[in-house]
């Protein structure tokens, strides 16, 4: 689903001493099927932005279009359309509550009045999508699982709604490297297979570099940069001014290029680690002409 924001602002605590403009005149366009990396410092407006997508927050001014649905300050997203937008909050495992994993994952579909048999098949599918064995896990208590498993069950609960837009707020925070990779690879696979539009909020420039094909950089409630990852990561100084960082691949290449003669420089677009290594190996294996 294509998502557009047209001059969207959001004011918290309007008319109170705590009034704060959390989003300032945001305009952006996300094509259907994009994998978007959203980065920005704590307090930059990332979470406020994504809560506008499924009607948890309404814009104070401006207009949001998701597919054919238009959201304005007075027009909320129709309830039936909310299931199209799956929102995975930070630490989603804190929201697990049912007695068994299967019941927890079925909760959403049942709530949208799907028949029980269909809800169950959705739960099975969703749990398998996140790499869990349905038969082995369905009757277990979600609270007896490991942190990584709980996180996956919570994500499955959102996937069981079969959303068309998947929004994830730091889905890997607190997980070990193997767990981070498993979750993100899974999300990326689902994104491709189901042709979702995916928004990933992350503090990790490495994760953004690896998965995103479009980047949004937020600062002080505004979108200050947007574009393809290679365009955004080229502006290392600007990102650092925003208290952000570039992936290690990018700082590594820029350091190497400072030491190499102009003709031997590495392309600055190799921000994915495998591509960087493959390029270096290729360069090393080809005998130099000069």
């Amino acid at each position: 689903m294509q998502i557009t924001f047209d001059q969207v602002s959001h004011l918290y605590g309007k008319g109170t001493p705590f009034e704060r403009l959390a989003l300032k005149n945001i305009s952006l366009k996300i094509p259907s099927g994009a994998f978007v990396g959203i980065i920005g410092q704590t307090g930059s407006g990332k979470s406020t932005l994504i809560q506008h997508l499924n009607g948890l927050l309404s814009p104070t001014s401006g207009e949001i279009t998701i597919g054919d649905v238009v959201i304005t300050p007075t027009k909320r997203i129709p309830p039936a359309k909310r299931k199209d937008i799956g929102l995975v909050f930070q630490y989603p495992e804190h929201q697990l509550f049912e007695e068994t994993v299967a019941k927890d994952v079925c909760f959403g579909p049942l709530n949208f009045e799907l028949p029980e048999s269909m809800a169950e098949s959705r739960a099975r599918e969703a749990l398998e999508l996140v790499g869990l064995d349905y038969e082995a896990i369905k009757d277990r208590s979600p609270f007896q699982l490991s942190g990584g498993q709980m996180r996956r069950v919570a994500i499955a609960g959102v996937l069981a709604m079969q959303p068309k837009v998947l929004v994830l707020d730091e889905p890997t925070a607190g997980l070990d490297p193997a767990g981070r990779k498993a979750i993100l690879e899974g999300i990326h696979r689902i994104h491709r297979e189901q042709n979702l539009t995916t928004l990933l909020v992350t503090h990790s420039m490495e994760e953004a570099a690896r998965y995103a094909d479009l980047m949004l950089v937020l600062a002080g409630g505004e979108v200050v940069m947007q574009g393809r990852p290679e365009e955004v990561f080229q502006q290392a100084d600007r990102l650092r001014d925003l208290s952000l960082d570039v992936p290690q691949t990018v700082s590594f290449i820029s350091r190497i290029n400072q030491l190499l003669p102009d003709t031997a420089r590495l392309p600055a677009t190799l921000y994915r680690e495998e591509e960087l290594i493959a390029h270096v190996l290729k360069r090393l294996s080809v005998p130099k002409e000069c």
Binding site: Q144, G174, D176, P177, F252, P287
Partner: protein, 283 residues
């Protein structure tokens, strides 16, 4: 009190009751000592026993068997428990779960009030503690308005005011943005160097461990590796098998060496940059 080894684990085991009544072993006979003034990083997959290890260090948990000594005091000695907790401060993952005060200075005062410290002395310690974490200009700020990194620094100030020997960071940077992470790591290094505070940093980020004196790797409740960062991170495959990662520089070098290129081992980007440039230019 024993000055050399601040923390001693002797054959420490810990387990809890699982779902079907079975015992789940979290730590299986761990032996280790942590020297006063050192900066130790602890790595390990989720469920490897890292956090249990931390909670045993200040008697939040007690060992099922074996002994834990903090400056010579057994953590099972109920009379010593407050003294032990004052010595061993802990910073947790979520900054919002550990702030109790309505203002920054109230928050830092919390522990001191519990200890019944004299008000004048309290004032002095709060100012010193906030100064040591670089938050002296935020004395009356409301904690909820601070950034994640600043909140963690306030939590560390609360510990510093108690005059601790050890600060344990239990994934204290996991929820922070890059700047917040840098602030906290920078502060931990400074307190270690300038104030002689022993730091135990439990983390999933291998980069944070590169400048430690020592790296301990936990795997399934046991100490898998224990040594200087260079010794530990040079064993790339072994770490990856344990579900862990190595610093970027080590990973890139590993891939190139696997293809037969000759690059010396190094933990810092600058070393790899230099050697790789040489290799690229002489090719």
């Amino acid at each position: 009190m024993n000055e050399e080894n601040l923390l001693t684990f002797r054959n420490v085991a810990f387990s809890y009751d699982g779902e079907e009544g079975q015992r789940v072993e979290v730590l299986k006979g761990v032996d280790l000592t942590i020297a006063k003034g050192s900066f130790v990083s602890v790595l390990g997959h989720n469920g490897s026993g890292k956090s249990t290890l931390a909670k045993l260090m200040n008697a939040l948990l007690l060992p099922e068997s074996g002994t834990i000594l903090v400056s010579g005091a057994d953590t099972r000695n109920g009379e010593m428990i407050w003294e032990i907790r004052r010595h061993v401060g802990m910073v947790f993952q979520n900054p919002d779960n550990q702030i109790v005060g309505a203002t920054v200075e109230d928050d830092v005062a919390f522990g001191l009030e519990n200890m019944g410290v004299d008000p004048q002395e309290m004032r002095k310690r709060i100012d010193e503690a906030l100064h040591s974490v670089g938050m002296e200009n935020y004395t009356l700020a409301q904690p909820y308005r601070l950034s994640g990194g600043q909140k963690q620094r306030v939590a560390i100030a609360g510990i510093m005011a108690m005059r601790p020997s050890v600060i344990i960071l239990d994934e204290a940077t996991a929820m922070l943005d890059p700047q917040g992470r840098q602030e906290v790591m920078h502060l931990a290094k400074k307190l270690n160097r300038e104030e002689g505070i022993t730091i135990v940093n439990i983390t999933h980020f291998p980069e944070e461990a590169v400048d430690s004196d020592r790296v301990i790797v936990m795997n399934r409740g046991e100490v898998l590796m224990d040594g200087q960062p260079g010794e530990v991170f040079s064993q790339v495959e072994r770490l990856q098998e344990a579900g862990l990662d190595v610093p970027f520089t080590v990973r890139v070098r590993h891939e190139l060496v696997a293809k037969g290129y000759d690059l010396p081992f190094g933990l810092h980007q600058e070393e790899l940059v230099e050697h790789l440039c040489r290799l690229l230019l002489t090719k």
